[in-house]
Amino acid sequence: MGAVIELNELTDAAQKAFPADKLSPSRDESWQLAAEMGWLMVRLPEEDGGLGFTREASTALHLEMGRVLAAMPLIPAQLGLQAVIASEDFAERADWLERLAGGEYAPLPMLSAKLTQGSDGSISGTISGVFEADMAVAVVAQLPGGYALVPLDAPGVSLVERPIWDPSRRLFDVVLESYTPTLMLTDASGAKALHDRLSGEAQLALAADCIGAAGAALDMTIEYMKVRRQFDRPIALFQALKHRAADMKTRIVVAEALLWKRVRDESASVTELAAAKVLAAEAFRFVTEEMVQLHGGIGLTDEHPCHLFLKRALLNLQLCGNADLWNERVGREALA
């Protein structure tokens, strides 16, 4: 029961700090607030000075941040922190944990990297999918020799912003040119286990972002349908439209049920966690497509937030493996 209370308190605090009517709050102010509220430490074990909460807690936070279309990169930050937490043999582990818990940012990339190793052992290529890299001190990357912290001010490391359609976030490539890693988190043999752990966590975090944002999109759409009048009545009265709203609600509630089931299932495989993300992201996409249509012309304007939801949904679908990839894998594993 204690865990339930903690979870509710966390959710309440998040909703107070990030009210639903303020979409896309300033990234830097949000980050500072999150650090002050201890959110960067929720998953840090107590023996490392953190709060030691379970993944239910981080899921609850990511869900609330999805609801307001947060620009702050809490998901990549949590995942980067977990990479360091898991790296027991990393000599500077304690030092980095303190820095990250204190507000420095070392994200895990949300897309795969294309890297090659030179004969001298140095690494060149591109690490894609790094959110808000302009505020990062380092990136957690899977290099040919294992996971490493790559400081962004190291020689041979540069940043390239890749403009994306989703205006609620910023995405960068980290480009390596003959970079020699110095801060190894794992060796090559330890990389697989860490990869599985991080990718499962990433799927849950993204699923939560989708569910939170989809819920907010539905709320806004219902509100609009109640005030928008045509033919002398609110359009919410039309059964053809009410049924669409009901289907939106159903998709969200069902995807959320699977998400929480898998969050609480410690034995769930990466594929099973990814299935929860695919279902949540598809629900989010469905809801936002309907949101634009049900808003009519206003939904096509830049000044109305509909497009923020739609674009976030379509980007989320592509992060950490898309629906085609994971659905195939779910099918293959269920066949085995």
Binding site: L237, K242, A245, A246, K249, A257, W260, N327, E328, A334
Partner: protein
Amino acid sequence: MTDTADLEALRREVRSFLAAEAPTGWRDASRTQDDFVRTQRDWFGKLVRAGYAIPHWPAEYPGGGRSLAEQKVIYEELAGADCPRLLLSFVSTYHAFATLHECGNAEQKARYLPKILEGETWCQGFSEPGAGSDLAAIKTRAELKGDVYVINGQKVWSTMAQFADKCLLLARTSSDGVKQAGITYLLMDMKAPGVTVRPIHQIQGDEEFAEIFLDNVEIPVSERVGEEGKGWAVAQATLASERGLTLMELSYRMRGALGRVAKLIREHGHEEDRGVLRDFGTLVTQVDAVCAIADQFLDNRINGIERMGDASIVKNAYSRALRAYSALGLRLGGMDEQYVAPITFGDLNTGNWMADFMNSYAWTIAGGSEEVQRNIIAERMLDMPREPKGWVL
């Protein structure tokens, strides 16, 4: 409240009973309606004797007095062991029980409830040709003459009425005022003079439902439940009697039956067809999610935090998944499925894909159609305005 250790003890107890007694080969033994009814009666009798047939009844009945958490355990184990579902006795143990228990008088309870455990079966005389989603529009009349009601009218979509001993009947005693106000709830003997039952031949070859024709049927006043004209409220007790266990049980059965789709994929050599694997994976996740929402719904009921509309979401999620399940099997089965093959009565996931596909419509139509559920979700959960009443076209 039942603690976890007690629940696990119950689970072991049910499991060991099922290991010894769970019927095998019942699908092959249910190729005709009569054989199906026989297997149903056998299995119901065994469950009554073992104490697992009526866990939701009060403790004064043998096998009753189980908490909802305990009921969930029993149904999980029945689904896991792939036992036949109790279809023939469903209306008796749920609808008739809830109606009599909540609204019946002492004499009615004493007369009918013990007989249900002896195998007496009930059907439901609610829907009519002109009263489906709009149930309160029933026209079957009940006229009080002395100490009997005389009934004239027609009922339809009555589940297994051809095998029923008794009927929960809604009839109109008045046409004044709002249509709900003139409805009276009666208990009818199916062998009474003037009752004619005609099974409905369904598109997949099953006869799960029947029509009931009522021609000057006499029902004693003592068989009325509640007051005259207050039958609509009693009917709500009937309809609210099932508390989510069925959908949870069915969801887990469909989860178990995904193996039938996998078998089809292997038989047709689609193991490396990425499109087929994606479609199968999508279905697996859809079914897993239905199990998750059905579980969550029951847990919310157990914890007393169910919200208006939750049940509608579970029903629509299940019925759509069932359609998707049978549609994928039908597609993968290809031309083979177009040749008529024997059907199995009383099962939704038989592997006869044409039959299963057609049967899946029962779940998007019966028990409150998908469209009615959408109205409930929109109006009661999302608080969208209700349609103005009384429009005349």
